[in-house]
Symmetry: C2
Subunit: 322 residues, 2 copies
């Protein structure tokens, strides 16, 4: 039974007949109509088949200039940054990394089904806290940015309760509001955001958090989101939960020390992690989404006929498909 | 900054003016309309204020006959069962517990952002596997049950992509389809389900899984869900992730042994955990949901104007509010 709750064995994948895009469009129309699809599932591809059929060009390598390595005693967390959604914060985070601001700070909070958060435990004590040299401590918020009609965007046809439109921008789950002409990254599992005080401009990137539970979409448009974890999130999601207020660790020795946060481009090539993300602007991605919206695996008795933006887990693999 | 990402300090709560129900209704109408609410937030209650104002009668004690204690070396996980949604499986799970079937089995799988799963690693080996004495190994599926119009149900006005109607039944997140006249428990964080093979009747309760990530709503109506974890889920969500296929543990010694699973009613009273769940059929609960749909805490710049059924975290507390 164990192996049947989720079928994800790409090795056994076999390519089946391809009629996915037409079907996706067809289903898109029906997705908004309740009730969900319960009829016999149309014969199309499983996720395994879609990924097995993907061409090298369906994948893109991470850009070292927009990749962070969060090194912990237990291993490395790889974060892809999304400069289109928070250019100023991402520039500042890279400056903080380059002046080694993060090195030696701590993961100070782990709240089950919510977030892990890192900072300088002394950040409120101007005398004791670690100084910021070249970077900025506070920035104007980038909770949302102006909707760039030319920016890549693969719209999901599926209705979303939290935003008028959701989809994927260069691999990042995001939302748009055509009326206000704004766009933003959605708080899905693995999203990396900028902690702040009550004042919208009280953040800047010196304190980061990562989502490790049910997507807290109520945070959308309330916090600057800068990217997502693409590898190693289990190093964060399995941390012991804090037992203090807000799930802060009560004892300093419970905190996980941050060895370093570095921009991948600053790391010798032979020490980098070569990863590829499935491109989200291709027919292969459309087929992938459809394979998640309506599972074709034998195990499934009923196809959902719908998918939320945070349930589309954009695939990441070692470069070359290893 | 840390303490501001989420305000949840019930101690500081102050009760403010009450106009929540009218507001909830008002917002309900606008919820289905995109775009989301971005106007100044109406003055109403924070979650802390709602819970601080709750009366003892707004809470209900767990029924020991429908409560399971999953005891692990690290502590106790408390599971509340929902017999209205899976009567046969729950009767069988209680029988399995009472014949001590689970005791000495293992957590064999932990997949990040998905589930942890427990079973008899030898379940496929009829000669080696642990025998089932009085209970049944397989049952007809209870993926959905007949919609009981008399069953308690607090409907969420918010649109849901996976089901025609969602809401809460005696504290359990659930969905309904008025057309097919069926109802089912939704796969939210902490949901407890029955593992099965491809055949719909291949489960029975001998193998259980718990959701520890993004709600896998695509599993709804595909698996029998029997209840939810109400205490101790961090004992499961922080387990090291498996590195084998389907995130199974590769080495037997990596598995977490199950000390026992017992029905709370079978445990001496002085060894029980006295818990209360916020009733979901009260004005207090309506106010609680609204306080999560549109956060009033000073930290929030924008109110979501929507909430998904899996983002309503039904509060649990020690009996008497301790």
């Amino acid at each position: 039974m164990t192996t049947k709750l989720l079928r994800k064995n790409y090795l056994r994948a076999r390519v089946t007949s391809l009629c996915v895009l037409g079907l996706a469009t067809m289903l898109a129309a029906s997705v908004h109509a309740r009730p969900p699809v319960t009829a016999a599932k149309p014969a199309t591809q499983t996720t395994a088949a879609v990924l097995a059929a993907a061409k090298p060009g369906d994948w893109r390598a991470l850009d070292p200039q927009n990749t962070l390595y969060l090194d912990l005693p237990g291993g490395r967390v790889v974060i892809e940054l999304a400069p289109a959604f928070a250019p100023n914060h991402i520039a500042n985070i890279k400056a903080l990394a380059r002046e080694r601001y993060y090195d030696g700070l701590f993961i100070v909070r782990a709240q089950d089904n919510y977030v892990v958060q890192m900072n300088d435990p002394d950040y409120e004590n101007e005398a004791k806290r670690k100084p910021i040299k070249t970077a900025k401590r506070h920035l104007a918020p980038e909770f949302t940015v102006a909707l760039d009609a030319k920016a890549p965007f693969t719209r999901l046809p599926d209705a979303d309760g939290y935003a008028p439109v959701t989809g994927f921008s260069d691999g990042f789950a995001s939302a748009r509001d055509p009326k206000t002409r704004r766009m933003w990254l959605t708080h899905c599992y693995g999203a990396v955001g900028v902690g702040r005080d009550n004042a919208p401009d009280s953040g800047g990137g010196a304190e980061l958090y990562v989502v490790i539970g049910t997507p807290p979409r109520q945070l959308d448009r309330n916090v600057t989101v800068v990217g997502r974890v693409v590898k190693g999130i289990e190093l964060l999601s399995t941390l012991p939960r804090g037992t203090g207020p807000y799930s802060l660790y009560e004892k300093p020795e419970q905190r996980t020390p941050i060895t370093s946060i570095r921009v991948a481009a600053d790391v010798p090539e032979n020490e980098r992690v070569a990863l590829e993300v499935l491109r989200t602007d291709t027919p292969t991605f459309d087929a992938y989404v459809e394979s998640r919206r309506n599972h074709r695996e034998e195990w499934y008795a009923v196809a959902a006929g719908h998918i939320d933006v945070c349930n589309v887990d954009v695939p990441v693999r070692a470069a070359g498909g290893h």
